[in-house]
């Protein structure tokens, strides 16, 4: 039960003013610009775009500044802004096969056409704090090689040639959109993927890790991981044809999983899929693992009772804005609820004491 309370306006205003001051911090230290956050904290920006479900690096950087670096708060700000935008329409599906790859690796094929391109990765760093970064300094320019001219083909295409990997059913059905129609269960794969790509990175990571530790038993390899830019095209009704309306950085992960076969399917490899805004490697691998675990029913596998196989559990708890909203509301005034509970506990206490007194009297 909620009760309207008057008062506290002054306290709230003052709290906001203090928040602004604390956000700025020590004024003898230079203020952060949006461009600095966008350029130098780009992986935080990417996470806010992915989970805020809106690709706009400047807005995400602004949200990070406003939220003092609390990324879930920043995602909340982006989600709120997103709802104010008129929807012009939906793009044509992006062609990740045409991606201009900054990074492209495979754990399954060493000699894939296009090669293993490491890109700007943390993978081979020693994870030792680099105290040189504590001082400002110029960065040496990165080395350059001979740029690849042609598109880099998807690695699973080679497995498809041999027919040992499950083929993706092609379709052009308009996918459901959970930002428009409330999610209902069972959800189809399109809705699951939309939910996972905007889901909390920590939650999706935890779910994915659980499948690796034996809860759902999916032994996955990263068939391919690629990061880079793709063009986005949309049909423009007034033109009568599609044009490019922009360019996005995306991370795509395809996992390859062994599959014993079922009553209807021969033994073959199956796949999980991750596609996330920005350079979001951990998230896209995790997404692919969870996607694969949630496909148990369509692949005719057993339900092992693992949480990562439980669609309703995974999808209902992956959204950090929903979760934060419900979790944090319990800190807001619940004076009347609590008052009634206090009354109840006092009454129960009284009754219990009377009963005890009654027994004692009877015993005497």
């Amino acid at each position: 039960m909620y009760v309207a309370v008057k008062g506290g306006e002054r306290a709230i205003e003052n709290a906001h003013a203090w928040l602004a001051e604390e956000r700025r911090g020590d004024t003898s230290v230079a203020e952060l610009s949006i461009a600095q956050i966008r350029e130098q904290l780009s992986l935080a920006v990417n996470r806010v775009m992915a989970e805020g479900s809106l690709f706009d690096p400047d807005l995400a950087a602004l949200a990070i500044k406003q939220s003092r670096g609390d990324l879930i708060e920043a995602i909340f700000l982006i989600r709120a802004y997103r709802t104010t935008l008129p929807r012009f329409g939906a793009s044509l599906p992006v062609e990740t096969g045409d991606m201009a790859c900054d990074r492209r690796i495979s754990a399954t094929f060493k000699d894939a056409p296009g090669g293993q391109v490491l890109g700007p990765t943390f993978d081979y760093t020693h994870r030792l704090l680099d105290f040189k970064l504590a001082a400002e300094g110029e960065v040496a320019p990165a080395a350059e090689g001979t740029p690849r001219e042609e598109a880099t083909p998807h690695i699973t295409e080679f497995l498809q040639g041999e027919d040992v990997i499950q083929r993706e059913p092609v379709g052009e059905a308009v996918p459901g959109d959970l930002t428009r129609e409330p999610m209902e269960f069972p959800a189809d794969r399109a809705l699951r993927l939309q939910s996972l790509t905007r889901g909390d990175e920590g939650f999706i990571l935890g779910m994915a890790y659980s499948t690796q530790r034996g809860y759902a038993r999916n032994h996955a390899f990263v068939g391919e991981l690629r990061i880079g830019k793709v063009a986005v095209e949309m049909e423009i009704p007034e033109l009568g044809f599609a044009i490019e309306i922009g360019e996005l950085e995306l991370t795509e992960c395809e996992t390859v999983n062994q599959f014993q076969g079922s009553k209807t399917e021969p033994p073959q490899f199956t796949r999980g899929y991750g596609l996330v805004f920005g350079q979001s490697e951990r998230k896209s691998i995790a997404m692919a693992l969870v996607d694969r675990a949630l496909r148990w029913e369509e692949l005719g596998e057993d339900n092992l009772g693992a949480v990562a196989q439980d669609e309703e559990f995974v999808l209902s708890h992956s959204d950090n804005i929903q979760a934060t909203g419900f979790l944090e509301h319990i800190k807001l005034p619940h004076y009347v609820d609590f008052q009634s509970e206090l009354e109840l506990v006092r009454k129960l206490r009284r009754e219990a004491e009377e009963r005890t007194a009654g027994y004692q009297e009877a015993a005497e």
Partner: protein
């Protein structure tokens, strides 16, 4: 009328696409150097909106919704009746206006001049930036070599 000129859809698609994702600073610098701007009326004033970006399951399968991106669009008409549309990524209304004006001018006698002064140099800059990135990626490509060859 100007828009009866035979302009291939593919050419229009190319210049609109170039302007949609070109860096605002580079494009506006080139556009600002063009002097005689035509007068126009708005058909649809610049508005910021969202477009739902779709991907395909496993890259090749059925579509699903990935998330939205910001887009700004507008439409205008020149005094001779030529209509220009601007669709650009992000939230810049000046950039959308410039894109729509350039789209309109590209359907008039001014096309060659706009192509030479704005679109061609812009396309060069964009291509250079892309090539530079691809060159850096190429430098991180792993070259495997065999350590020990088994003899038989």
């Amino acid at each position: 009328m100007a828009n009866e000129m035979n302009i291939g859809n593919s050419a229009r698609k190319a210049w609109m696409g170039l302007m949609a994702s070109a860096p605002e600073g580079a494009m506006m610098a080139l556009w600002d150097a063009v002097d005689d701007r035509p007068k126009f009326d708005w058909l649809r004033a610049p508005e910021v909106g969202g477009v739902m970006v779709r991907g395909r399951m496993a890259g090749t399968g059925a579509p699903f919704n990935v998330g939205e991106m910001t887009v700004t669009r507008c439409s205008l008409v020149l005094k001779d009746g030529t209509v220009g549309h601007g669709y650009v990524q992000g939230r810049s209304k000046p950039k959308a206006e410039a894109a729509a004006l350039i789209d309109a001018l590209m359907q008039t006698e001014a096309a060659d001049r706009v192509q030479r002064d704005v679109l061609s140099p812009l396309a060069d800059q964009v291509a250079q930036a892309k090539t530079k990135r691809a060159a850096k990626a190429a430098a991180t490509k792993v070259e495997f070599f065999t350590m020990v060859r088994g003899e038989d």
